[in-house]
């Protein structure tokens, strides 16, 4: 395997959690809900996936635990913002603070343990294709899931009736309500899907990226995923493009450090965050585009008359 392939493989590994968390948040935001708690759900998923894997010895149980914990945790957000119509921005922050706290507490005794890495699933024949084979067909389950989820979300949103309903709720909840669409239920499901995806992204961190648990190990990836959704202007396939771009940036800083380029490591580590800001500026600069693409009801609370 050439050095170029090796680099691309690490880019894919770094990009997968971003793609997963972002595709989940995309569905949530398409339904009109802004969940800023991605970071918290992600780190909960990482902790629960790692703990479950250590307890059972199976990383697949770990994946399930990651998904379930993310979804359950998002339910807390859903209850506050959808049932109690609390402020979505503040509640998302609360979810992040609580997630960092709870994951730190439950994961404390697992710090420093070496984990079990999720095994690769090798597709025969396809994996022998030169260059592409090892990159795309010699990967772990979560990578395959990430691609399948993006394709699935695209199909769901733009080809299925349920997806049409979800988009309509995000465009105008009062119109959707008047047509008899259950706004609150749709949003609960969208929030939970976002939570499950963020949990899966967390599981990737603690089972694939660095198979161990460390406090705050999501390190701002949840926030980058939020920026990715804006970058993708709420379109599924653009999440992949953006995710891999960010993966490349964060990997490039690792290589730059390894090769001892004369730039302080802290400046290189800051690159992904600075890149996020730059991308946000480029995207939001076009006010017109942003206005057309943003789900019209995003962040607005809905209380039906009864």
């Amino acid at each position: 395997m050439g050095i170029f392939e090796a680099i691309l493989l690490t880019v894919i590994t770094a990009a997968t959690p971003l793609v997963l968390a972002a595709i989940g948040e995309l569905v949530t935001e398409r339904s009109g809900v802004l969940n800023l708690g991605v970071e918290g759900m992600m780190v909960m998923g990482a902790a629960c996936a790692f703990i479950a894997t250590q307890q059972t010895g199976s990383p697949y149980v770990g994946i399930l635990a990651g998904i379930a914990s993310g979804a359950l945790f998002s339910l807390l957000f859903g209850f506050l913002t959808l049932t109690l119509v609390a402020n979505q921005v503040a509640t998302g922050l609360a979810l992040t603070i609580l997630g960092l706290g709870v994951s730190g507490m439950i994961g404390e005794s697992y710090v420093g343990q070496s984990g079990i890495k999720l095994p690769q699933i090798v597709f025969p024949i396809l994996s022998d294709i030169p260059f592409l084979g090892p990159l795309l067909f010699r990967q772990d389950l979560i990578f395959y899931l990430s691609i399948a989820l993006v394709a699935g979300v695209h199909w769901f949103l733009f080809r299925s009736r349920a997806g049409l309903k979800l988009r309509s709720v995000g465009d105008s909840h009062s119109s959707a309500h008047a047509l008899g669409i259950n706004v609150i239920r749709t949003r609960y499901l969208a929030v939970m899907f976002g939570g499950a995806c963020a949990g899966l992204a967390g599981a990737q961190l603690s089972l694939v990226y660095t198979p161990q648990w460390a406090e705050n190990m999501s390190a701002g990836r949840g926030w980058i995923a939020l920026a990715l959704v804006v970058f993708a202007s709420w379109r599924p396939w653009r999440i992949v493009a953006g995710g891999y771009l960010f993966g490349a940036v964060s990997i490039s800083q690792l290589y730059a450090q390894a090769f001892g380029i004369g730039i302080p490591s802290q400046f290189l580590s800051a690159l992904p965050y600075l890149a996020t800001i730059v991308v946000l500026i480029l995207i939001s600069h076009n006010r017109r585009m942003t206005l057309i693409n943003t789900p019209a009801a995003l962040g607005k609370a809905f209380v039906p008359d009864r």
Partner: protein
């Protein structure tokens, strides 16, 4: 079961006051359950977490030391949040304020004068304000989401501080430890009263709270903040500029966070280290909401959250558990505050039996 909300015709005065207390009560109950799950006696754990730190003079001073940055930052954030500007990067502004204020005692350490301390405070405020100016500029002129940019800049500030104290600013006589030289006595914020360590940072916090409270309560500027936060369009009708408000609120909160940063470094730590804050900038968000975005409420809320830090340290010693429950307590508290605020605007009805569902098929 189903929960239904009914909008109250008027804001409930009763629940405006009660809701933070209900939230505190619920946090205590859940905290007790948490300690029980950890295998500790909940009552004694809660006692050492929340009561014991209040029983001694020295720990009251510690409380004031920890409350000072929380109150200073949260007061600034309350202006941001009331005007609908979501600065969540106060942690970064705190750090940059601390760095800017430390230029004098670290780089120009030979200059000793009574002017040093006031200049440090001023530089700290400028550092925080300038760092907050980045998301302010991006939001006001390029329409970039301030939530994400201000947060990203926290990581940048942390890395910048790390680089400084390991590189250019490292103490030449410090055996390669990642820290700056300790500040000269003229650069250290004095104690407020003789009985303990609490420094003038707490005085700044109280002063800031009172000034901002006055502004919000009595002046046209305060009115402008409220109006623009409620409706940008109504603000425009009044002739207020939401763009100028972005600048005003972000620079103000940045300056207060920067002041908190330099006061903490100059008063409590007395040098720069890679980590100078246990997450004050984020905890202050909780303080702001627990104080219902009212500067006087924030003073009380700041003391309560400072207590969770002290209590966390106390149970570490007395119960042999880690300091991790602190973050959980803080997160829970914010959750309950946000839920209880629903009671101010809505009546909540629990529907144990869903009447409409049982008759749903009446048509067919």
């Amino acid at each position: 079961m189903r929960i239904e909300l009914e909008r109250r015709p008027d804001v409930s005065k009763l629940f405006s006051i009660l809701s933070p207390f209900i939230a505190l009560g619920l946090t205590l109950v859940f905290g007790g359950i948490m300690f029980m799950l950890l295998g500790k006696d909940p009552l004694s754990a809660l006692y050492s977490f929340f009561i014991e730190p209040l029983t001694e003079v020295w720990s009251l001073h510690e409380l004031a030391i920890k409350a000072a940055p929380l109150i200073l930052i949260a007061v600034g954030l309350s202006v941001c949040y009331r005007s609908n500007n979501w600065n969540i990067g106060a942690e970064g502004q705190f750090i940059m304020g601390a760095i800017a204020g430390s230029i004098l005692p670290v780089v120009f350490y030979e200059w000793q004068s009574p002017l040093v301390l006031p200049l440090m405070m001023l530089l700290g405020m400028m550092g925080g304000a300038l760092f907050a100016a980045i998301p302010a500029f991006l939001k006001a002129h390029l329409n970039t989401n301030e939530i994400l940019t201000s947060l990203m800049l926290v990581y940048v500030a942390q890395l910048f501080l790390d680089w400084l104290v390991r590189g250019a600013w490292r103490n030449p006589g410090g055996m390669n430890f990642p820290e700056t030289r300790t500040f000269d006595a003229t650069a250290i914020l004095p104690e407020m009263i003789a009985s303990g360590r609490a420094h003038w940072g707490f005085g700044f916090a109280i002063l800031a709270a009172i000034l901002i409270w006055f502004m919000m309560r009595y002046t046209l500027k305060g009115f402008e903040i409220t109006v623009l936060g409620q409706s940008e369009r109504a603000g425009r009708f009044a002739g207020f500029s939401s763009r100028k408000m972005i600048w005003f609120s972000m620079l103000l909160s940045g300056a207060l966070a920067g002041l908190a940063g330099i006061a903490e470094v100059s008063g409590a730590i007395q040098q720069l280290r890679p980590v100078i804050s246990p997450g004050y900038g984020f905890t202050a968000i909780i303080v702001a909401f627990l104080g219902r975005l009212n500067p006087l409420g924030i003073v009380v809320a700041g003391l309560v959250l400072a207590l969770t830090y002290l209590g966390g340290e106390a149970v570490q010693v007395s119960l042999q558990i880690s300091d991790k429950p602190i973050r959980v307590f803080q997160g829970l508290l914010l959750f309950f505050v946000l839920s209880c605020d629903t009671l101010i605007h809505y009546k909540i009805r629990m529907m144990w039996f869903d009447l409409t569902d049982t008759t749903a098929d009446g048509v067919r």
